[in-house]
Symmetry: C2
Subunit: 498 residues, 2 copies
């Protein structure tokens, strides 16, 4: 440590855009992941855990945010050391789909086909951080690799609905919207048969529909527009006549699936790929209807695009439909918490063979934030441990024996391990830990073979602002024989929530 | 995708030293983490999840492996983009302890003190990969920050024993060995009062005791030795007279704690820090004995050093004592699966204030490997889903309705979503998935309002090598009315294990 002393002190801070999660937050997320995984397993999916690190080559460049270095990923080059790396570029995964494509290509002979897998864990995006926007966040994905059937897409949408409900979102509080990239391709074929404009740029522009509205998208499809910050954003260069059908397509959601499909048929004109996309949407709609998933849960909505470049057919998005109050006190819709789609070309990148695939990704941290905004999270926050206080530091072993007895009975317990001199600090600690019970045993108690038990939850309830003296006289404290420690603590715990 | 086609195909491979985990492996690890976490919570610890990424400055350089670039971590420099990073160096965490020190320094006013936290998750080491040695692996840590009491160290060791047993290691199959860095410092003070040799280098050398034995360590403490590969490894430069007491110290474990402590007292001579370390070991031993943790679970063993540079007092290591058969058919001890110790200076790096801390880290992947080597893992491997086969692809909706009914009843189920043309492939798929039941319904069954149920587990049992024709005639297949689908499947499932 001698070296450190001479250097300036390091800053105790997470890197920009990263954060820590404490206690109940971690437990709440874990519980949500388990609930979603239970649904995924019910649908026949198996777990897969890939490493956080992939080669840049295997990941490919499919992120919508291309304004950042390394196309939005955290990447580094391996040093060329003897017997070690070969100087190749590695990166943190930015989603769970690109690694899945790599896994399927690598292990395809050993895996069943279709391969249904789910994956849960963090992903990393080298994006500009912002309020509530972090560079590491959790995803919980399920994908079917090796099925070209629209039944697979329908099943993914049905499962997504079930998973959201399992996570605590009530029916009616979410809506899954489906579209098809082929329909958009059909529209673009109709307005730009020569393929003069960059299709990916059109996609990214349309994906901003929710943020900048029809007028904003119209400008960005044409010459461009001034940003909110005053910067001029270059447009993709469609003429007004070309942009109009694209906008009409975006807003062609009708009262019913049949009406929406009719609108889409008009929008794609003679395009074969457009007609194919509409046919696929019809199949999905029929399949969902047969399984009892109606328009209260899943609808066709042409304004859904999804920013990722690798989708080739149906795309889905789940949005929460209730309003929340944001940090600035404004009411707003919570928005998207999950998305996915069909990506028939991702495995082909590796193998040259077309392997059809479809899947969904749930943004677990956003979903948790939504539940919190509704006051539904943290309700089941676990209570703290029983705290065995230290009245006499030469008796540590006897206090530890008490904690060991409680634990052996399945009761969370600990001995206070800070400096025991100030007893008030021990009670403050117990309070900060949300301890339900404090165990107290000094010389007097030891001589008489008893322990004092303080019911801290009850104590807190009856007098939140009482002084220490008042608090001490509270009837929420009583004495039990040392041999009845476990029984006495259990009596208090069973009388409280938790 | 047009761009990709023109480039050479990416290789479908994990980076060197990384791997994928499938199905039962993921579930087994998750279950082990939950069991260990339950013990940690029982001892009053709260969850903490930090991000995988930290600033290099916050992590510090404490890894024993200094032969690699970036001192064994995966690190990269942030690009200096407007509103984004400031060009600082970031890295993946190499353990859970350095991030904990950062968290405590950053949030110390909000956290209770002592702060008991547990953390589970992957860590990354930029080390030379080898057989069974990966660059991403799981740790499951528990630490107490803010307690100088040896009762904290004793509690960590007791908890480690409980956690190993909860994870499935029987009492008698593990041993927790305790030592104290201060005792080693005492020995070094006695042999090298001027501090002429590099103490960290001595530590790293002694840490190789298990690998190279007493003779090897003697050579490395002196002039050096030839490696197994024929490379000459420079020694730390002690004279033989200086090295002898260090070696004596390493091998001073006696028949009892009292005998070991007496040996240590002789080894440290007049050194004050040595005497302090011995006093601490005595306190830990007393505390553990009072809690009923005897020499069958925890012993004092001076040969334990732990490679990490940040330990300042007691160090612990849990080793599995049973023999396993390695890849080459040789019997060997499994070795260390957990380690830890006291690190009183890690928080001080940030704040300038001494914050005493102690903790343990369980190497979850090694522990899983140990259970697997004993044939204890994977026993409870979950069975696959019920597979609804597709006899008639125009009837997909009715097959999906069957799967939906089964799921609504809590039964894992899926429709076969591959190409249904070859029915044999569907059965092969069901087999590969370890499906307990296949549901079959063609035109005939539909007309009669029934479904066929095949008991695949039974079928597999009675004739592992039967032909498809034999298999088809098996009595393990029977017919139920369509309305009794769920009841019929349940009957089969309840008759099998799973």
């Amino acid at each position: 440590m001698a070296k450190q002393k001479k250097q300036p002190r390091p800053r105790a801070q997470t890197p920009k855009g990263f954060r820590d999660y404490f206690g109940a937050e971690v437990v709440a997320r874990q519980r949500m992941l388990e609930r979603i995984a239970r649904i995924y397993r019910l649908y026949g999916f198996e777990a897969l855990e890939t490493s956080a690190v992939e080669t840049v080559e295997a990941l490919g460049k499919f992120l919508p945010d291309v304004d950042r270095p390394n196309a939005g990923v955290f990447a580094w080059q391996e040093a060329d050391v003897p017997g070690g790396g070969s100087g190749e570029w590695l990166a943190l995964r930015y989603d769970m789909t690109a690694p899945l494509a790599r896994v399927f290509a690598q292990h395809r002979n050993a895996l069943p086909t279709p391969y249904r897998r789910y994956a849960m864990g963090p992903v990393w995006r080298n994006e500009k951080p912002g309020p509530g926007r972090f560079r590491q966040f959790y995803q919980c994905d399920a994908d079917i690799v090796g099925s070209a059937s629209m039944a697979a897409d329908a099943e993914i949408c049905a499962m997504l609905a079930d998973a959201l409900e399992a996570a605590g979102i009530a029916r009616g509080d979410y809506l899954i919207r489906i579209n098809n990239r082929k329909v958009l391709s059909g529209v673009l074929e109709a307005v730009d048969p020569a393929g003069a404009v960059d299709r990916d740029a059109v996609l990214r522009t349309i994906d901003k529909f929710d943020k900048v509205g029809a007028e904003g998208v119209a400008a960005l499809l044409g010459k461009g527009r001034l940003d909110a910050s005053g910067a001029y954003i270059e447009g993709v260069g469609l003429t007004e006549a070309q942009a109009a059908p694209v906008l009409a397509f975006l807003t062609s959601r009708g009262e019913s699936a049949a009406e929406t499909l009719a609108n889409l048929r008009a929008a794609v004109g003679e395009s074969a790929v457009g007609a194919e996309g509409i046919g696929e949407l019809e199949q999905i709609a029929e399949s969902l209807a047969a399984q009892g998933y109606g328009a209260d849960r899943v609808v066709i909505d042409p304004s859904v695009v999804r920013g990722l470049g690798y989708y080739t057919g149906p795309v889905f998005e789940a949005e929460l439909t209730f309003e929340i109050t944001d940090d600035k006190g404004r009411k707003r819709q919570f928005g998207s918490v999950a998305g996915g789609g069909r990506y028939d070309d991702l495995v082909k990148r590796f193998t040259g063979q077309v392997v059809p695939a479809t899947g969904v990704s749930i943004g677990v941290d956003r979903l948790l934030a939504a539940l919190e905004a509704r006051g539904q999270a943290g309700a089941a926050e676990a209570r703290g441990p029983v705290v065995v206080t230290v009245m006499d530091r030469t008796e540590m072993a006897s206090y530890q024996a008490m904690a060991a007895e409680l634990r052996a009975a399945g009761i969370r317990a600990e001995v206070y391990l800070g400096n025991p001199r100030n007893f008030g600090n021990q009670l403050k600690y117990a309070d900060k830990r949300a301890a339900p019970v404090a165990v107290i045993a000094g010389e007097d108690e030891r001589a008489r073979g008893v322990v004092q038990l303080k019911d801290l939850a009850l104590g807190a309830k009856i007098a939140e602002n009482a002084s220490l003296e008042e608090w001490k006289s509270r009837p929420a404290q009583f004495e039990v024989p040392r041999a009845d420690l476990v029984a006495g603590v259990r009596r208090i715990l069973e009388g409280t929530d938790g």
